[in-house]
């Protein structure tokens, strides 16, 4: 009897809910799966790393609270400083080149040519291939003795280059692979933006006697800016977290020439067992990425025309 009563009262309370509340409830039900996984897999680890960064913790040993000691050590650690420098170099090298390549390919793929679908698929293929596979493939391509790249260059009488073993170019070599691997994704976003530009704008411009260059500068680029904004923002955030390619191709070497913050963070956490120290690093990265993103948002967002 009691349970029957409870059911009836529940039904009644649903009936008495305002329409607005009912709508809100439905909305929350829809976002619940995403929200729960966000809390569990994103929010919780972020907060946890903030907390852990205050401890000296070696995973297997009991954590010991040491306050801001980890941070103090961090900024005196030459390897961290080197990693930070490498990470910034990576962002500055990789992001502009990657976006430029994506843009150029997107502009080319926007042309109404026969069989263009085939080329679009080809350019997107690396995105669908796992990073491990791509990285291993490039390890072979870049191999100093047996690599296909040096083999091709030998025809031009260029002596073998240590793409991954020369500390002056190893970071650039990895960045080039990463551009090849990732630019298809941004290409697709920019291509869809380009295809969203109404044909009549091009026609009006054709009647006005526009040149291809002015068409690019005055029509295409301004109108794909909302997508470009997204592409720049996400690319910068991703670039700051570069890890897999470094881990597979060079393990941070030679020396510390390809050590990035993410790689050093990983090494500290899982190789040296310094979890608290690694978390302090991730907190610093968190604030660096946040600051850079906010600055970009300030610069780019106000110049974007969203309505077309």
């Amino acid at each position: 009897m009691a349970s029957v009563k409870t059911n009836t009262s529940k039904k009644k309370s649903l009936q008495h809910m305002t329409l607005q509340k009912k709508d809100a409830l439905t909305g929350y039900m829809f976002i619940a799966p995403a929200l729960i996984s966000f809390i569990v897999f994103v929010m919780y680890p972020v907060i946890a790393s903030f907390v852990i960064s205050g401890f000296d913790w070696g995973i297997l040993t009991a954590p010991r609270f040491i306050g801001i000691e980890n941070y103090k050590t961090l900024f005196k650690d030459p390897i961290f400083i080197e990693s930070l420098k490498n990470t910034f170099t990576w962002v500055i090298l990789y992001v502009p080149v990657s976006i430029l390549v994506s843009l150029i390919v997107a502009l080319a793929m926007d042309m109404p040519l026969r069989g263009i679908g085939f080329f679009r698929t080809m350019f997107y293929l690396p995105v669908m291939t796992p990073m491990v596979v791509c990285a291993l493939l490039f390890v072979w391509i870049y191999n100093k003795e047996f690599g296909v790249l040096n083999y091709i260059l030998s025809f031009l009488n260029i002596s073998p280059i240590g793409w991954l073993s020369d500390r002056n170019i190893s970071l650039i070599s990895i960045a080039l692979m990463s551009v090849w691997k990732h630019s298809g994704y941004n290409m697709l976003i920019l291509l869809s933006a380009l295809q969203g530009i109404p044909e009549s704008l091009y026609e009006a411009a054709a009647l006005d006697g526009i040149t291809p260059w002015r068409k690019l500068i005055n029509i295409k680029l301004p109108l794909i800016m909302p997508s470009m904004y997204f592409v720049v923002l996400t690319s910068v955030i991703d670039a700051f977290q570069v890890f897999t390619e470094v881990f597979i191709m060079t393990k941070g070497g030679p020396g510390y020439s390809t050590h990035t913050v993410s790689y050093y963070l990983f090494a500290n956490a899982f190789e040296y067992g310094k979890m608290g120290y690694a978390c302090a690093m991730s907190v610093v990265m968190f604030f660096i990425i946040l600051a850079v993103t906010l600055i970009q948002d300030r610069i780019m967002n106000k110049n974007i025309q969203y309505d077309s």
């Binding site: 026609e203 054709a206 009647l207 006005d208 006697g209 002015r214 005055n218 109108l223 800016m225 025309q305």
Partner: protein, 367 residues
């Protein structure tokens, strides 16, 4: 200012899809010509061929004395107003209007003079610093017109420029465009699917269907003397009523028989023209205002009975929908006429204004 001459223009898309077939038209200098027809009739394609946005598959196009088939759009000295206005969303109104001139390297002060002047004419001076998204549909339309005006083109091409506006604004803009044409004294080629726009704006109208020109004439002539069934049905609102009929000859009399339900004896030119159709099926057309309802006035002899289905009060007049021996007809009558739904009434046809069409070829026999 320039005339336009289209000689045997054809547009054939891949797969042998014929969009426009043997289009011949002489558009005079300063003329306001309208291309009208239902969707897919080839009117926009024709306009786009004049603009140079579509290649001409066959035929010759002259603007003035110049053959322009292979001339780039920018060198044809034309300006076009698009249905969706095609304003650059990231530019201000001023920049939108000035952009074409900048590309042509017109000096800055001259650009400013022309934009200001056009803005004044179109009453959009106060909007020059705004972006298109901050404008209403009507204002955007004016900017699109302004962008075309500043170029001082020889020919204005307008592709359904009013179809994105609401009914009230459309009526207002109609007269604005007519005034603009008078003021600019330039050749206007205007595409629309709306026969009211066509009738009210054009010096001449080109009625198209399935890529073919049906008739080219003044609005009045199109209305009074449609050359075939399609034009008769397309021009005029509500549209012309059509009734199946047969021509009979009894002695000296030429009779039009409406399925044996009622018949009229013809005289004069109409009788003469229909004599050749003795025993043949024809279609009689009568405009809604040429049917009279027995109310206060006495009817002519060309009368019959009908049942009123519904009436629509339009303000100054009423549309009466009725059935007359299986034919659904519409009548337009003054608002003070008393007609009740479901009532039986007596109607009469103004036989002088009746049109007759060959049922087989659908072309007009006489008006």
């Amino acid at each position: 200012m320039a005339s336009i001459s289209l000689k045997n223009i054809n547009k054939i898309y891949p797969g042998d899809v014929k969009a426009v077939t043997d289009f011949n038209l002489e558009i005079e200098d300063k003329e306001f010509i309208i291309l009208v027809g239902p969707s897919g009739c080839g009117k926009s394609t024709t306009l786009r061929m004049i603009a140079g946005l579509e290649e001409i598959s066959k035929g010759e196009l002259y603007i003035g004395d110049r053959l322009v088939n292979d001339v780039a759009p920018k060198d044809r000295d034309i300006a076009m107003v698009f249905q969706n206005y095609a304003l650059y969303p990231h530019m201000t109104v001023y920049k939108n209007m000035a952009f074409g001139l900048e590309l042509r390297k017109v000096p800055k002060n001259e650009i400013k003079r022309r934009v200001t002047e056009a803005a004044k004419i179109l009453d959009i001076e106060h909007l020059l610093e705004r972006k298109p998204k901050a404008l209403s549909g009507g204002q955007r339309q004016r900017v699109a017109l302004g962008r075309a005006m500043v170029r001082n083109p020889q020919v204005f091409l307008l592709d359904e420029p009013l179809s994105n506006l609401d009914a009230k604004l459309r009526t207002a803009m109609r007269s604005e465009i007519i005034k603009l044409h008078k003021r600019l004294e330039t050749t206007f080629v205007y595409v629309t699917h709306d026969q009211i726009e066509a009738m009210t704006m054009g010096d001449r109208i080109v009625v198209m269907k399935d890529g073919f020109i049906q008739q080219v004439d003044t609005p009045q002539n199109l209305y009074n003397y449609p050359c075939n069934l399609f034009v008769a049905g397309f021009i005029g609102a509500p549209q012309m009523n059509f009734l199946d009929a047969k021509v009979k000859v009894e002695g000296e009399n030429i009779i039009v028989d409406f399925n044996g339900n009622f018949q009229f004896i013809l005289s004069g030119d109409k009788a003469k023209n229909l004599k050749a159709y003795a025993g043949k099926d024809i279609i009689a057309g009568i405009r809604p205002e040429d049917i009279k309802i027995k109310n206060t006035e006495e009817l002519s002899n060309y009368k019959t009975k009908a049942t009123v289905e519904i009436t629509e009060l339009m303000g100054s007049e009423i549309y009466v929908y009725f059935e007359c021996y299986g034919h659904k007809l519409i009548n337009k009558t003054p608002a003070d006429t008393i007609v009740k739904s479901d009532s039986e009434i007596e109607i009469a046809f103004d036989i002088n204004k009746m049109h007759f069409f060959d049922k087989e070829t659908e072309s007009a026999i006489c008006h």
